[in-house]
Amino acid sequence: MPRIGVFVCWCGSNIGGVLDCPQLAREAASFPGVVYSVDYKYMCSEPGQNLIIEAIKEHRLDRVVVASCSPRLHEETFRKALARAGLNPYLLEMANLREHCSWVHAKEPEKAQVKAVDLVRRAVAKAALLQPLVSSQIPVTKRCLVIGGGIAGIQCALDIADAGHEVILVEREPTIGGNMVKLDKTFPTLDCSACISTPKMVAVASHPNIKLYTYAEVAEIGGYIGNFKVKIKQKARYVDHDKCTGCGTCWEKCPSKVPDDFNGGLGTRKAIYIPFPQAVPNKPVIDANHCRVFNNKKCRVCEKLCPTGAIDYEQQDTFIDEEVGAIVVATGYELFDWTKAYGEYGYGMYPDVITGLQFERLVNAAGPTGGKIKRPSDGKEPKTVVFVKCVGSRDEAKGKSYCSRVCCMYTAKHAHQLLEKVPDSQAYIFYMDVRTPGKGYEEFYQRTVQDGAIYVRGRVSKIYQSGDKLVVRGADTLLGRPVEVKADMVVLATAMQPAAGVETTARLVGAPVDQDGFIQEAHPKLRPVETHTAGVYVAGCCQGPKDIPDTVAQASGAAAKVVGLLSHSKMSTSAMISTVNEALCTGCMLCEPVCPYKAIEPKVITERLPGQPPRERTVAAVNSGLCQGCGCCNVACRPGAIQVKGFTNEQMLAEVDAICL
């Protein structure tokens, strides 16, 4: 018979204010197997934990029930307490009296008390059947893969590399830098974006611990925490970067002009190009879609002119295998395509209705206009500019329900830049709210207001061209009257959304995405840089919209987690994972496709039965490094051969019985 101890926690008044904890402890004493029970103000506190440890020793307890808060919060705490008392930490069962009872039933304490008794009885019934569990050890490859070379990926790679671990940084564009390098100045300090990001890009390229793959993508990921196997696809650049010196002759002479995506389509680049002058690496690639040679036309100009003979039209995609112990996803964002959703703003028909990122390029000295604000249609300097916020953000009908977090601030920045650069200009900002939580942010916004920006609270209902003006119609909801502005240019603050291809990346790394397609963090508060897959971390805007300070902070946070993981040469896996009863397993392998972590594989065993020749048959095998103990396989298995340790059928049924019978 087990010797169970029950520890009822008041959680101050959180539980104690609703439930009669001493009565609960007395009642628990009568449950089968319980030899000791007690209540205490804060079980998780030092004295509370000591109380458990002492009781284990004094009463020779071999199972412990803590009736307190959610196991998500303190299961680890109490497991450690058990371990300190010399007990296997998995001989703990928790009853959640706070989230499941006192908080939700605060208004009906009598009924809550009855439920609390049931919850404790349930925990005791399961505790009686708990088995000691041990975790296994797996080796750790001390290298990290970072996917995406925006500021998040750059910062993360640098931090990990500085800590002494090798980093493989994979960026799909020809240069690292992401969206940040496209920005002109950055709020709230207005320092030049390129000045603060390009030194970091150079640091990445020259860091001895960083292996950089640009114009590359992750093609396959196998394995598990500590032991991932990655296949990287190096897209053909048609330029041999070992020979190329980046002299620039080729892109100066290339006759094929293409709209420049780096500049948001404003201006052109060549078919052989570097995205911008400070690109890292500072060597070109050929855009095969637009190169004449690949379109069966005569040219080969670059080949003829290249002094080092680096041009190679025959180059093929290549694949590289790498092994890593951790993965950081930092694939960033792109802007919501407003032209498909906002007919009232002209579906992109009017050239002078542009996005915030295009505006960044217009004010940027390295941009298509050399930093002079000129409107795209006729190159005139716009005097009256309307900024429309929340285009696609906070608009469930047309775009996204969420707030993109940076638009309030960059719109204030844009208005400020306009008023500063264009004499006698006027900035109108249509907004729903102005959200400025952040250090120095409100002050920054107020400064723009003082600069003379006119903030109009209301949505814009229509934009149309009239002569060389854009008529912007909206409502001022504060004054309760319609507003009409004749503008020279309109800048839309469009929503941020996960960069294209995020689902593919998410599938490759085995991390779920949320309803908006952002990578789901393991816990919004307590595990913000981890994902649900062990060994896979997340940083920057692929997790949700955020500005550069938050992106960098999160990137360093993810780096700290990675460094923590890589600081051990072995790691222990979770003990509460699936296990296969091979005698029952039919080898149908239906558990294999349902496992979201690809933790199950077939394995052939040799079975020896008395009086029969040994025979081989297939059974399922669980990889303890990959299994997260989610239990999906349990459901798929008809004979009940596969079960999660700590959640066996027997244990669950005992719980159900304790509550229902």
Binding site: L584, C585, M589, R615, P639, G640, E650, L653
Partner: protein
């Protein structure tokens, strides 16, 4: 029908003589005129005992499992309905495709034994049967009888959609034509049951489950029930014997648990061969249970009856982006 029998014996003899297979699982003459018995021919001589007629009701596919750990090849005779069971076993990895030679019979339907026996003396000697399309002509030493299919077919055969085997290595007759409108199942029986109010439904199943003997015949015959050890027969710890939901006791509530668990286990997997219902000694209309989930799965996931292809992923263990998620 005579041609099929001849082809069958010839083919079986050839396979056995050449050593291609160690055994041919088929049918032989049974204990009365309207019965056949499963037969396991292991040599050319025995192959001459094999037969085929509209009384070959058993689905023989499940017998393969008795030989699953041997390395010999086996041949098995299947009708259209049974053939889906082969796919079931292959998909479930219970029998490798390479080890089975499928002798497929295009089947014109099976006669309802009880109805036939109301006309023919059970002791009569069956001489031959002829399939005339709309009717069977059965010749015996007691005379010749004509059975109109419309009246005498087994209920499952009256609505059969797969008279031709969906998988076969040797087809022992001409493929039968299937009219386009017959290809999809209308589930009339299930629609009718769904229309009942909950109390009536409950009374219906109470009445039937009350009679279940827990003989496990349905499970044993079912090609989808292929666990090594049935959950209802696993050794359970002492405390579970009494209170366990997996009790072996034959009582209404425990029988419900048994049948519903079996129903969930064959969800998306039951090939609708109807064997369970046929073997049930107390005539529980089991197919109604499984056809209900076939219908539900079809409505939810748009899948056809399982077993039509080996490659069909199972709806409940495969994920597609379009899958409905109304519970989220």
């Amino acid at each position: 029908m005579k041609q099929i029998v001849d082809r069958l014996r010839q083919e079986a003899a050839r396979l056995l003589a050449a050593g291609d297979v160690a055994m041919v699982i088929g049918y032989a003459k049974g204990t009365d005129v309207a019965r056949t018995t499963p037969y396991f021919a292991t040599n050319e001589e025995e192959a001459q005992n094999l037969t085929w007629n509209p009384f070959c009701t058993n689905n023989l596919v499940k017998y393969l499992l008795d030989f699953r750990f041997e390395d010999t090849k086996l041949a098995v005779v299947v009708k259209g309905c049974d053939s889906k069971g082969i796919n079931r076993l292959i998909y479930d990895r219970q029998f490798p495709r390479e080890r089975v030679v499928v002798l497929g019979v295009p089947c014109g339907g099976l006669l309802d034994r009880s109805k036939v026996l109301a006309t023919i003396d059970p002791g009569a000697e069956l001489q031959s049967v002829e399939d005339l399309g709309q009717e069977f002509v059965v010749r015996t030493d007691h005379g010749e009888f004509t059975f109109a299919k419309e009246q005498y077919l087994l209920p499952k055969c009256a609505v059969c959609r797969n008279p031709n085997p969906v998988i076969s290595d040797v087809l022992l007759g001409e493929e039968l034509p299937v009219a386009e409108e017959e290809k999809s199942d209308t589930f009339d029986d299930i629609v009718e049951m769904e229309a009942l109010d909950p109390a009536a439904k409950s009374a219906f199943w109470d009445r039937h489950f009350n009679r279940c003997l827990r003989c496990y015949a349905c499970r044993n015959v079912c090609p989808a029930c292929n666990c090594r050890e049935c959950a209802f027969e696993q050794a359970v710890p002492g405390w579970q014997q009494e209170a366990c939901w997996l009790s072996k006791k034959a009582s209404v509530d425990n029988n419900y648990t048994f049948h519903l668990i079996r129903m969930f286990d064959v969800t998306g997997r039951c090939i609708d061969c109807g064997e369970c219902e046929r073997v049930c000694p107390v005539n529980i209309p089991l197919r109604k249970l499984y056809r209900k989930v076939i219908k539900d799965v079809q409505e939810l996931f748009g899948d056809t009856t399982p077993g039509l292809n080996i490659g069909d992923g199972l709806p409940l263990t495969s994920y597609r982006k379009e899958d409905p998620e109304e519970f989220m």
